[in-house]
């Protein structure tokens, strides 16, 4: 179980988290919703160990047990679609690449470069790469931005079937409707409105 205890974080003069407390469920899909700029991405980055809180602590998980999907796709323009998957898989699991391409419904694009993909396809590839990396927890920042609703729901179901707990930030109503828990946030500074 991930617990955020008394987290404080500032960007210059702006207080993003001010003694923020939250305990996340151990399983299923948990969605964070809230207005843009309220601090969802910062919270995910702090939990993922990509940034350090000014004070407070995060218990129950270490950064190397987490697979993090960035808000941007961060694909390598010179690597082909399948290589993005094999790049994060250990040598003895490289044969699984096809399974992850199927997860993202990108089987026909294995040899394509990111520049040849649509925005939605690139997002699906970024999500598949993150899921292929795996870990004790998946932290996903806007995982279905630009992905059509039907496909997004199908992919969310595949994530659920993996059995790894997921914490995602999203604005999309159809994604929030599929989540097991929705935590409504507001801010800054970030605060929980309801869960």
């Amino acid at each position: 179980m991930i617990t955020c205890r008394d987290l404080c974080f500032r960007y210059g003069e702006k207080t993003v988290l001010d003694y923020f407390n939250l305990t996340l469920p151990e399983e299923g899909i948990t969605a964070l919703s809230g207005p843009s700029g309220c601090g969802k991405t910062t919270l995910l980055r702090l939990i993922g160990g990509l940034q350090r809180a000014d004070s407070g602590e995060i218990l129950g998980v270490s950064p190397n047990e987490i697979a993090f999907l960035f808000q941007e796709d961060r694909l390598l323009p010179w690597r082909r679609v399948q290589q993005h998957i094999t790049d994060v898989l250990p040598r003895n699991r490289r044969g699984e690449a096809g399974r992850w391409l199927a997860f993202a419904e990108l089987e026909g694009e294995a040899k394509s470069l990111p520049g040849e993909l649509s925005g939605g396809m690139a997002r699906r590839l970024a999500l598949a790469r993150c899921a292929a990396l795996g870990g004790k927890y998946l932290l996903l920042d806007e995982p279905f931005a630009g992905v059509d609703a039907e496909r997004a729901v199908r992919m969310l179901q595949r994530l659920r079937d993996m059995g790894t707990p997921v914490l995602l930030a999203s604005h999309q109503a159809q994604i929030l409707a599929q989540a097991d828990w929705v935590i409504k946030l507001d801010g800054p500074p970030l605060r929980v409105c309801s869960d």
Binding site: L50, N64, A67, F70, R74, L76, D87, V88, R129, L133
Partner: protein, 249 residues
């Protein structure tokens, strides 16, 4: 012939015809072949040189020396750039030395290196020394310009340092590296020939240039100069094609 092809042909031929005309006119006005031979005399001298085995041996060995210099300079410049980018200590120690090499006139190096290595090796050593700082600068700027978002992704996705280098840093350096290498090639060629002139090896274009000057064979001097320029242009074009094809792959 279509009007477009005719236009293209004229556009291609007009500049060389114009400059050959200017050259012929200047030679006519000077009136002394010893000072300025006309293009006909020079091309006749070039034709004669090309019939000798020595011409091809000299041109081939000069190219070989320059490519040897280009190779070691590129490898050393790239390795130094990696060292100075990733280690503050290496940067503090090595970067001033590389900048010093870049700022020093090539003639000083030629004369110094003459004291240390055999004459046959000097052009390759000098070419490499001219290439090294250019490649170092190009690779360093490529490494510094690597997208930090991609590096953060590499760290978050647990890429090993070798994988970060192979998948993120090196591809990010490709553009600056190619333009740096093309600039370095021009420098390598010019400095290599200059080294051959000042420290003449047995078979070399620079040696032939020097011999033609000493013997007051001005037509031969011009002919060898044409050879140097033509080889430089051709080899640079070839190198550009190879690098661009590799980049496309």
């Amino acid at each position: 012939m279509s009007p477009d092809a005719l236009k293209r042909g004229i556009r291609l031929l007009l500049p060389p015809i114009f400059w050959l005309g200017v050259w012929q006119l200047a030679a006519h006005l000077v009136g002394r072949e010893l000072l300025l031979p006309g293009p006909v005399t020079v091309f006749r001298a070039l034709g004669k040189l090309m019939q000798t085995r020595d011409f091809w041996l000299s041109a081939g060995l000069s190219m070989l020396r320059v490519f040897a210099g280009l190779t070691w300079g590129t490898i050393a410049g790239s390795l130094l750039a990696l060292a100075t980018h990733f280690s503050q200590w290496a940067n503090a120690v090595l970067a001033p030395a590389v900048r010093m090499v870049r700022a020093t006139p090539v003639v000083s190096f030629i004369l110094l290196v003459y004291l240390w290595v055999s004459r046959a090796a000097i052009p390759a050593v000098i070419s490499g020394m001219m290439v090294l700082p250019v490649v170092w600068g190009a690779v360093s700027s490529g490494l510094a310009g690597t997208d930090p978002a991609l590096l953060e992704m590499g760290t978050a996705y647990r890429f090993s340092p070798w994988k970060q280098l192979r998948l993120i840093y090196l591809p990010s350096c490709r553009g600056p590296f190619i333009s740096g290498l093309l600039t370095a090639f021009g420098l390598a060629w010019k400095s290599g020939i200059a080294a051959e002139v000042l420290c003449p090896p047995t078979h070399a274009v620079g040696t032939k240039l020097q011999a033609a000057k000493v013997a007051l064979e001005t037509a031969d001097l011009f002919a060898w100069t044409l050879v140097v320029a033509a080889l430089s242009l051709l080899l640079e074009k070839g190198l550009r094609l190879i690098l661009e094809r590799r980049a496309e792959k």
